[in-house]
Structures are given as structure tokens and as C-alpha cells.
Symmetry: C2
Amino acid sequence: MNNVTQLSPVKIRSHHAFQTQHKKTNSNDSLLHRGDFLYRMGDKLKGIYVVNAGAIKLFRITETGDEHITAFLMPGDIVGLDALEDGYSRSTAVALDTTCVSLTTIENVLKGGGGISSAELIQRMGSTLNRDNDLIMILSQRTAERRLAWFLVDFSDRLAARGISPAEFTLPMSRTDLAVFLGLALETVCRELARFRESGLIDINRRRFYLLDIEGLRQTSSGCDEIAPKTVTCGVKRAAAGGYA
Amino acid sequence: MNNVTQLSPVKIRSHHAFQTQHKKTNSNDSLLHRGDFLYRMGDKLKGIYVVNAGAIKLFRITETGDEHITAFLMPGDIVGLDALEDGYSRSTAVALDTTCVSLTTIENVLKGGGGISSAELIQRMGSTLNRDNDLIMILSQRTAERRLAWFLVDFSDRLAARGISPAEFTLPMSRTDLAVFLGLALETVCRELARFRESGLIDINRRRFYLLDIEGLRQTSSGCDEIAPKTVTCGVKRAAAGGYA
DNA sequence: CGCGTTTTTGATCTAACTCAAGCTTTGTGG
DNA sequence: CCACAAAGCTTGAGTTAGATCAAAAACGCG
């Protein structure tokens, strides 16, 4: 296939024309279809985008050629934060669905009067950092069960925050995407979902999900699942800075 | 031991008085000793801090009582970003060493004239987000070898960026901290370090590290290690948004 | 209606975890 | 100053969760 160091043309679904460009509805808004790129690793971004509708997948390609997904964004989320360090994006943003985004340039943010103020951007970035830290915590303890439960609960919470039914939804991404995002094998995702279904926590039909017991999922995701914690070690384990200089 | 939901008093090393408070050298600067907290989960922060000297460990306690370290900060780094969402910190910051920090309030950031401008803060946060994404990528592929190599190379690079010898340094944190940060078992960290030493990549004496072959470590961390990639799959594996709505 | 993609399920293998024990360094008190 | 305690580090043996390999079933599309 393509070589590793190559950033650009990545094979894309046959029935969609390959395009980084996208339809402009007005100066600041863009409409993307499934598979369209909003921007790619290395692109110089014009500013930050707010997702108005649809869904965006953010990912990077590693030196070994593996894709890794860093976030799934939904309406209200901001895209393009990864370019704020130096103007050049570190990741690729692709639409998972028909998606509408609107642009605000950094100049407008700093100047004020644009769509987003400095204070607001700082707050939103703080929120993104906190979410990333949540993800880091989930990824660093390696049980598939907790990762998946966390994902479902998190997705559900985000829907709820947007006034959308949190117990019944259609995921915009494939099982493979889910696996990549959670750092699991595709098969593990399927198996674990099957187990959730067997335990009556959820019901699934392809990408349609029904969360039957959100609290149960939340318990599972926090690890305070079931009865009696396996090893009584439910206390703070270590806290101070140990060691010597 | 202590209960989970309890935020506060966590046992601390015997010979240091327990204190969240810290010596004030002037209105904006604080001096902390090893084990002192700069702030804790849930505290309302007065602003953001720049580390002038020393080292800070940032961590959270999960519902299950496990500590998880989200970052190690060194001079020049900003602490307190986790409170920018709503003013309350999501994590605990503790000094690993004698550490000096200086405070800039958010009001001063937004108003300008303080130590840090809005534009600068936004850029620094962008940089932090990118670093977090690097960590996310490392954590989601579960080989201990790569995680550890990445850590060493990253630490070395950060030292180099500060004009400090990148090939010879003393880590401020324990093996346990390293393990927690990288999502590995303590024993795995030791073993993997031993393997690095045997391969001649590094030399170690307690917390004193000598990177003998930084490029080798970088290779290991990127996974493009050794000769011929195991499965020829060095191309872009998947790229487009798959599936159906 | 057949083909390609996605999802599911099964069997085996392995990297990392857990438990366990010994060793080293640092700090404490007689 | 030396012995002892405590914390940190290292190494060994056995177990296990999840990866990998393999194949089949479900669904969508032309």
C-alpha cells in the first residue's frame, strides 16, 4: 500500500469523490459529506471550527502507519484545537456523516466580536484538556470492559447535554473505529459488547444502541462494579511524592 | 485505609510536615518542598502557575481509589490548566522536589499586562493538548517497551529544549510513579528498563539515567524498531469514514 | 442475486499482570 | 557510629486478559 511518510492521498471509499475541499455555503460555513476531510495532518488551519451538525473523527497516523483516533466530535464541539500550538494541525479531521462546521479565525477570537471570545476559547480548551485526561485515565488501565462502558456512558452523557435521547442512539462510527479509539482489538470490542448485551446492560442492532441500564454501565466504567471490591484496596494507595533526589 | 470519596488527608512522608499551604516569597511566587501540595482535586484555583524550578506531579484519584498520574511538569511548564473549565481543579498537584512556581490570575491573562497573554495561554494550551494526544497514542497501544522508550525520549527532549543535558539526568519520580503514569505494573517497568540496559540503549543507577543510544530509543518508541517490520503492513491501513448511517 | 464490507464467534498464543521473595538505599534512634 | 526499620528497587514463577489468526454469518449495494 502507500508508504508511511506519505501524508496525503489515503484510499477513500469508492463512491465518494476524494476531496479535501468542501462546499462553502457562506464565508464561514462549510458542508462536508461522509469521508470528506476538513483538514489533514500538517495543514495550516485558518482558525477553529465549531461543529453545527454531524460528526467528526480526529485521528493521527503513526510512524508505523497505524491510524489512531483521538476524538469523536459532535455538534457544539470545537475542531482545530490541535493547530493552536503553531498554526499547523497535528491531526486529520474527517466527517463521519454529513457535517456542517463554521470557522472563526484566531484573530477574531483575540480581537473579540467574532463567534468565540478568548475567555470562552480558554474555557473550552480547559474542558477539552479535562476530557483528554479522562481518556488517558481510561486507557491506562487496561480492562476492555471498563473502556467500553466508559465510552458508552460518555457518549450518552454528551448526547444528554445536547438534549438528545441518551438511552437510544445510532453511533456514527464503525466497530473498528471504536476499537482504534479505545486501544482494543476489533474482536474484543464485539465480544465485550456481546457480554454487555447478555448481562442486560444494553441492546444492540448494528450501530443502533439501547442503553438499558445506564447506572450499571456507569458502575462498570468506574470499576466500582458488582459487590465487594476484589481486593479490599479501595483506599488511597499512595499519595505523597516518594523517594529521594 | 482511607475511604475513597475522601479527598483530603492522604498520608505523607513522616519527616515533612503536612501542608497544602506553602511559603510565599512574594505576592505571586510560592516555594514548595517535596511532598507539598500546590493544590488538590476540587480546590478553587486563583489562576495558573508557571514552574520556575523543580518538578510537579499531576494526578487524580479514581472512584476505585487508584492514583493516576496525568503529567510530570518541569520548569517552564504551566500548572493549573485543569481548572480553566470552571475554576475548580480536576487534579492534584504535588511537588516532587523543591519547587518554585509563580501565579498569574486569569483576570490578568485576559486583561493583558500580567505574566502571560491570552494568545500565549491559548498557544500553550494547544501545546498541552498535543502532548496529551501523544500520550493517548502511546497508551492505546499496549507494549511496555514502546511506552517506556517514549517516556525516556520525551523526557530527554524536554530537557534538551531547556538547554539541559538530554543524555544524562536524574528522574524526579519513583519507579512506581513511572508505572502509574505509563499504565504499567511496577515490575514491568523495572524489567523493561533492565532490558534496555542489556541492549546497551541506556545505563541506569537508581534514578540516574544515561541515554547511550537516543536514536535507538526513538526507533523503539516509534515502533519502527529493528529491521523489516514484522508484517509488511507499514502502509496506511484504513483512512476513510467507514460504514453507514 | 452475488460480491464486498462489517460484524460476530471460536481457538490459540503471548505480553503483561500478580504474587512472592530478596536486595539496596535511606533515615532513625540507641 | 552502628543496627534496625522502612521504602524503593530488582528478579523469578505462574496466571490471565486480550491479541491474533481463522472462518462464518449478516447486511447493503450494484
